[in-house]
Amino acid sequence: MIRHLRVLALLAGFGVPTAARAQTIENAALRRAQQAYDNLEYRQVLSLARAALRERLTGSERARAYELLGFTYGAMDSILKAVDAFKQVVLIDPERQLDPNRVSPKAYSAFDVALRQVLLVRQLRVDSTTFVGGQGAVPIRFAVTQPARVVTRAIGSGRSFLIDSGAWNGQVNLTWPARLANGDPVPAGNYTVVVEARLGQNAFSGSQPIRLSHGMVDTLPHLTSLPGYQYLPETEVPPQSWRPLGLAFLYTGGALIGTLGLESSSLGSSSKRELAVVGGAALATGLVMTLRKPAPRPAAANILYNRLLRDQIARRNQEIERENVARRQQVQLTVVALPKPTGGVPR
């Protein structure tokens, strides 16, 4: 029968407290309360947990004791008492979260009601980031459990910088440009982002330490080529042709025809050995040049293309140079979140 009840309880989702957790508990009464809860002996859980709370406990043990009470009251349908117990839990450990997939809907709703009944600043997160001063901001996130006046500050380097002041409820997303009034970046150093929430007499604050450092902005390297664009060969080898021999024939023929046509009839036919020597040399040269691999010749289109490519690269490098001048005057801010002190401070 007991075994069946255990299975039923597990199916109902009350199985969050585990044996492993029980082993880490040093207080004997609390450990017995955990074991009683695991054994579904709820009445014994109530007495043992209350007894443990009367003893000296660490913060986490005290939160665990109240959590056991909350779960047990929830299981026993004492919702109001469960809410009161969970209130104590979140006051001790504001970051405490319940997994809705692993706890019973009754316990989860009691926990949710408890959250809404106390003023808390939870889940304060400052994301580590790097940005150029004036062109970015530090993201800050937190949740406020009740509508409240919330003041967010960064305190450090002997100064306090107001980040935001407003009425917030629920999830809040803020950004801090980390700049002074004159536009300069705030000094490098360790800061604490403090979020203070106030609702009437109730107040709660959460904090997150961060380290802010200054660095130089990376400059852009100069380009030697444009991605996807390659220089083309500026010369091309033309196809082999008979043109050289043809031209040699043409020019030699011109000289021969001119000589024959201009010869004086009264002087008789002139000697052709001179023309034979030079014409023969011209024809031989033409034949050699015809048979020879043609010489590369300039490729006008490629030359123009390369010139345009060079102009583009030069223009881009000029832009990069101008951008680098501006970048050398900028400051790169790096924000790193530091380990957070445990819990919040109800005031």
């Binding site: 043109r243 050289p244 031209l247 040699a248 020019y251 030699t252 011109g254 000289a255 001119g258 000589t259 201009l262 010869e263 004086s264 009264s266 002087l267 008789g268 002139s270 000697s271 050995r273 001179e274 023309l275 020597v277 030079v278 014409g279 040399a281 011209a282 040269t285 033409g286 050699v288 040049m289 020879r292 043609p294 010489a295």
Partner: protein
């Protein structure tokens, strides 16, 4: 001989003076045939000389100096030969990719002085040139010889000069050159006021040589 040296020096100076993108200079061996007045008066011979060429953008200049020893050929009525010294010069300007207009002069002197006509004239003409292969250029020119002067007097209304030049880069700066010229001068004389007589002059010459480019 002194005139030959002077001519060569002038050519060299002219070549050096030109602000050339390319300058070539070299010796040449020449073959020549010469006829004058009638078919029976003909000579053939050989000689040596030099040539210089220069080019600066569209402007080019050429000059040659030749010293030819011409002897009567078989069947010639001439009894003795003579030595001719010939100076040619051209300045050309490219008017198209393969064509230039040119002006120049020709001066040929004979030694002994009256063994043949000494001639001086101005050239006006055009040339066409084409690079038929890497470092190989062929050239054809046709010039009108204007205002010719002859040592024996007379005049010529129609005189032409044709040329075929070849320049081949053999290796590095070394070029081989070959040039052919045909010259026809329709000289007319009027000895003793007896009326005009034809005394034409015709010369062909081939020059083959080497040149160094700078």
């Amino acid at each position: 001989m002194s005139r030959l040296v002077a001519g060569a020096v002038c050519l060299l100076l002219a070549g050096q003076a030109a602000p050339a993108q390319r300058l070539t200079l070299g010796p040449q061996f020449a073959l020549a045939s010469y006829r004058e007045v009638a078919s029976g008066l003909r000579y053939q011979g050989t000689g040596f000389g030099g040539a210089v060429t220069a080019r600066y953008r569209k402007l080019s200049a050429d000059a040659t100096v030749l010293r030819l020893t011409l002897d009567p050929t078989k069947g010639s009525v001439a009894t003795s030969g003579f030595t001719a010294t010939e100076v040619n010069a051209w300045v050309a300007y490219d008017v198209a990719t393969y064509a230039s207009l040119e002006v120049g002069l020709i001066r040929r002197t004979a030694d002994p002085e009256f063994a043949a006509q000494s001639v001086g004239a101005v050239r006006i003409g055009a040339r066409s040139f084409y690079e038929i292969g890497p470092g190989a250029t062929i050239l054809f020119r046709a010039d009108y010889l204007a205002a010719p002067k002859f040592s024996g007097g007379g005049h010529a209304t129609f005189s032409l000069d044709l040329g075929l030049d070849l320049d081949v880069r053999l290796a590095g700066r070394l070029h081989g050159t070959a040039a052919y010229t045909f010259e026809r001068i329709n000289r007319k004389t009027n000895p003793g006021g007896m009326g005009e007589l034809d005394a034409p002059i015709q010369e062909t010459a081939a020059r083959v040589g080497l040149a160094v480019a700078f």
